[in-house]
């Protein structure tokens, strides 16, 4: 850059100043944004983000033990003996699917899916979780069961992850009959995909009217779609003319379409809650939200023919011994907003104490120093998410909007909400209670619930990689203190997503 021309002696330095200034002008805001996004090694989910009161009165945002009751005290009656006890042992291992293919992943009691737990309504269920060999640690989240907060199984929010060689005991009353599932909520986007889950069925006091009651748990292992661990078709028995309840559980990250060949069907329950006045369906598929459950009831043909329940087109449950031709996937879906008959929901959502907005978008930026085009909640990217603050007894409504081009199966822990409106259209069918709701691109939903289960509850996308990319917020009760910490350094600490 030196020159022999004495007349331009000052030019070289000036010629460097402009490019350097331009470079700094370009890089400084980037570096500052990057620096600001770095997360501490360990932090409470209560210390990040901002308080959202939903237009309601102020609450106690407990940041120290003196200000509130600890999450760890929110348990089932410790004096009450258990009615039913299970031990579930989690392992990292290579294992065989029910149909024989070998895969690497995680098992519970040696298999994946883990054992199907069938308990009776009102039972106090006690589950001893043993981590035999999962290096990152494990937890069990009782997906859809509105358990006491300390039993919710979210690493870093309701407990510490259980390291290899350690155990943790969950206790809760199975008070609402229906179809549920359990899965790890530690590094869940990997552990669930690789098999750390199982089914929980809470049977009602009075036995179900159906002649048969079967589980159809759908999961993709290593790119292979399965039902009850079988690739292709799995067969279960049924007698001609009988009715069979099929409990479909979607354990994957994407929505699942299910349809029936050989019979009409009725959608009898969604997310563990029975629908009122379900009518026969034919020529339509039913969509099962990621993490969600749909119970359908089929009637077996009296001529000995079989019934086929297709799950996404790659796996199917064959019911009965007879043959049945597989129908192609119908293009129409059952619209749960208009299915069945209305009945009381037990509260007045028009009288909501707090009205929150959960608007999902996408923004470029950094999360913990990583650049990306991240999911945002109400215009903020992780960890600057809203804390939806409520008091016990509040009637709460959420307006959920999806401004992205991906479906988001939104899952609220610890509560069931009722769907009021979709894109402004009022629900006219059976009360549609959900814990997992598919919000399609461009759609909006209004849902409502009663805040009746104190604690700190995740409200996140159950497309689990999306949650790991920051599509997470929390529902926080007034005066509840968070004793646990989230953090990914050193590895093996609490990483709920």
């Amino acid at each position: 850059m030196t020159t022999d021309n004495p007349g331009s002696r000052r030019r070289p330095s000036w010629r460097l100043v402009a490019p350097i200034v331009a470079t700094l002008a370009l890089l400084t805001p980037l570096a500052w944004t990057w620096w600001q996004s770095l997360l501490p090694d360990h932090y409470s989910v209560m210390e990040f983000g901002y308080v959202d009161l939903g237009g309601g009165p102020p609450v106690t945002h407990a940041l120290s033990p003196a200000q509130g009751r600890s999450v760890s005290t929110l348990v089932a009656d410790p004096e009450r003996p258990a009615d039913v006890t299970y031990t579930l042992t989690a392992r990292e291992q290579s294992f065989h699917l029910a149909s024989g293919e070998r895969t690497d992943g995680f098992t519970i009691n040696g298999n994946s899916p883990g054992p199907t737990l069938r308990v009776r309504q009102g039972d106090l269920v006690e589950v001893h979780l043993v981590n035999a060999s999962v290096p990152d640690g494990v937890t069990l989240h009782w997906h859809g069961v509105d358990v006491p907060n300390a039993e919710d199984g979210v690493a870093g929010v309701t407990q510490d992850a259980v390291p290899p060689g350690k155990t943790f005991t969950y206790r809760f009353v199975a008070d609402h009959p229906g179809t549920y599932w359990y899965h790890s909520h530690q590094v869940s986007h990997q552990q669930v995909r690789k098999g750390l889950f199982g089914v929980l069925v809470i049977e009602p006091h009075r036995p179900i009217r159906s002649d048969g009651d079967v589980v159809a748990v759908s999961h993709v292992y290593d790119g292979k779609a399965t039902v009850n661990g079988h690739t292709g078709a799995a067969r279960v028995g049924a007698s001609p003319g009988g009715t069979v309840r099929v409990r479909i559980i979607n354990t994957d990250n994407g929505s699942l379409s299910a349809w029936v060949s050989g019979s009409s069907y009725r959608v009898v329950a969604v997310d563990g809650y029975d629908l009122n006045g379900p009518t026969p369906v034919s020529g339509k598929a039913v969509l099962v939200t990621a993490g969600g459950r749909v119970d359908i009831e089929v009637t077996m043909p009296t001529d000995g023919g079989g019934v086929r329940v297709d799950l996404g087109g790659a796996a199917a449950l064959l019911i009965g011994d007879g043959s049945v031709a597989a129908k192609p996937q119908p293009t129409a879906f059952v619209d749960l907003l208009r299915y069945g008959s209305p009945t009381s929901i037990g509260f007045d959502p028009g009288d909501a104490d707090r009205q929150f907005r959960y608007s999902i978008g996408r923004k470029p930026g950094f999360i913990d120093g990583r650049p990306g085009y991240w999911w945002s909640v109400n215009g903020h990217i992780y960890p600057d998410a809203p804390m939806f603050m409520v008091r016990e007894g509040d009637i709460v409504s959420f307006h959920i909007e999806n401004h992205t081009n991906a479906v988001h199966p939104m899952h609220l822990h610890g509560h069931h909400a009722v769907v009021l409106r979709r894109n402004g259209d009022r629900a006219t069918g059976s009360p549609w209670w959900i814990d997992s709701l598919d919000v399609a691109p461009g759609d909006s939903y209004d849902i409502a619930f009663v805040a009746d289960n104190p604690g700190i509850w995740m409200d996140h996308c159950h497309n689990l990689p999306h949650a790991a990319q920051g599509l997470v917020a929390h529902l926080v009760y007034s005066g509840i203190y968070e004793p646990y910490r989230v953090g990914d350094r050193p590895s093996g600490t609490n990483q709920p997503e």
Partner: protein, 156 residues
């Protein structure tokens, strides 16, 4: 520094070509997986990170190249252009950076609006053209200005 500028211009052009090759490989592999191996692609399988078939790596390569490598190259290219003193060099580097930002936006949008996909392809050709032109203009500027022709050490 002009040589560095030229190298980055051609690196961006090459990375755009890699994008086209990667996505073609992935789509051909997907077709074969469905035709020959009875693979079923649905929402459930699409959202599973374990989806493997010959060619599936093309999707990953397209994503990494398009969202990380090319934007990083374009940002460095803009910075290099400040120092390279190629006539109109910063203007062209800035144009390429802007087109790449647009390309990423189009890449996300086409999933919801398939008609955007042809625009994504058209924009790729424009980026390729501007990148090659930038390299050629820098070479021309170099040959007209022998005093500046000595290659400077590459920065970084």
């Amino acid at each position: 520094m002009r040589t560095t500028y030229r190298v980055f211009a051609y690196l961006i052009a090459a990375a755009v070509v890699v994008q086209a090759m990667a996505i073609a490989y992935a789509l051909a592999g997907l077709g074969k997986w469905i035709e020959d191996d009875h693979g079923v692609l649905n929402k459930q399988v699409l959202d599973n990170e374990d989806l493997h078939f010959r060619g599936s790596g093309g999707f990953a390569l397209h994503a990494i190249d398009g969202m990380m490598i090319i934007p990083a190259l374009a940002l460095l290219f803009v910075i290099i252009s400040f120092f390279a003193k190629v006539p109109g060099g910063s203007k062209r580097a800035g144009t390429i950076f802007g087109l790449i930002v647009l390309q990423v936006i189009l890449g996300f949008t086409l999933h919801g609006v398939p008609l955007v996909a042809p625009l994504h392809v058209l924009n790729a050709f424009i980026i390729l053209g501007v990148a090659i032109m930038s390299g050629q203009r820098a070479a021309a500027a170099t040959s007209y200005a022998p005093a500046e022709a000595t290659p400077q050490p590459a920065m970084g």
